[in-house]
Symmetry: C2
Subunit: 156 residues, 2 copies
């Protein structure tokens, strides 16, 4: 199957710097909205959040900036579930635009399933586990993500 598109938006005026290019933090905001959309697909949507009081918190994110993006450009996010355990979810988002084959940015993230009543970390519910496993199964033929497992550093 093709990559899962979780979020689509034009680049907004509040998101660009004085050169009219998307500022680094706003790439991550777009990926943050993509994670919100992913939550809906794994049974943690706004309704069930209100009901179950469960959410995903970002523990850690790594982002690679590959190309500039201009104000007004329509962009979208591909999301791949890399893996999950009882409480954690490892995802990969990439940012794309029409007419350009390469990703504009890529971000690998570790997310924690949280019971907001604590707030405490909590195991995924059965329905979420089934939906997550469904996504992993659907995505098993996708290419391995390009920007994953990376370490930042200057060459010595």
């Amino acid at each position: 199957m093709p990559a899962l598109i979780t979020y689509r938006t034009p680049v907004q005026e509040d998101w660009v710097d004085y050169n009219g290019h998307l500022r680094d933090a706003y790439y991550l905001l777009i990926f943050s909205y993509a994670t919100d959309a992913l939550m809906e697909r794994i049974g943690l949507d706004a309704d069930s959040r209100g009901h179950s009081g469960q959410s995903l918190f970002t523990l850690e994110a790594h982002i690679n900036y590959l190309h500039e993006v201009k104000l007004g450009t329509e962009v979208w996010v591909h999301t791949q579930v890399i893996g999950f355990d009882r409480k954690r979810l490892h995802v990969y988002h990439s940012l794309h635009r029409a007419g350009f084959d390469e990703a504009l940015a890529a971000s690998e993230q570790m997310l924690l399933h949280v019971d907001l009543a604590g707030p405490n970390s909590a195991p995924f519910g059965e329905r979420s586990v089934a939906l997550l496993q469904g996504l992993v199964d659907e995505q098993q033929d996708l290419e391995a993500p390009a920007f994953i497992g990376r370490v930042i550093g200057l060459k010595k």
Copy 2:
């Protein structure tokens, strides 16, 4: 010397989620403003940017979310220069608030010096190199950053 404080701000209303907590992307926005402030300290301030047409682009960032931050909380950024080469700068930002000893978040970043006329990557000018080396020298007694050189992944 104590850590260099590059940026200080209260957590703003636009930056929080429905629970009143700082959203993941906005931690990075605060660090992005800290990088802007760092630019001034290394001779790439707004005036000289306009004149020299040089800037820093973020190549890659890794961020660890350690504690939640609420709307209105006054936070500040400590910035450490980890190293630099001809064109690249490796920095470490951490986020802090009063009355709490631990960092709220930490981000290691690789930045590229860019001539905006291209835009192309370009070597740092002599003045920037001297100012960068001054920061490295001043900061040599600081503790090694806690969240650096990390790889994201689920334990197998």
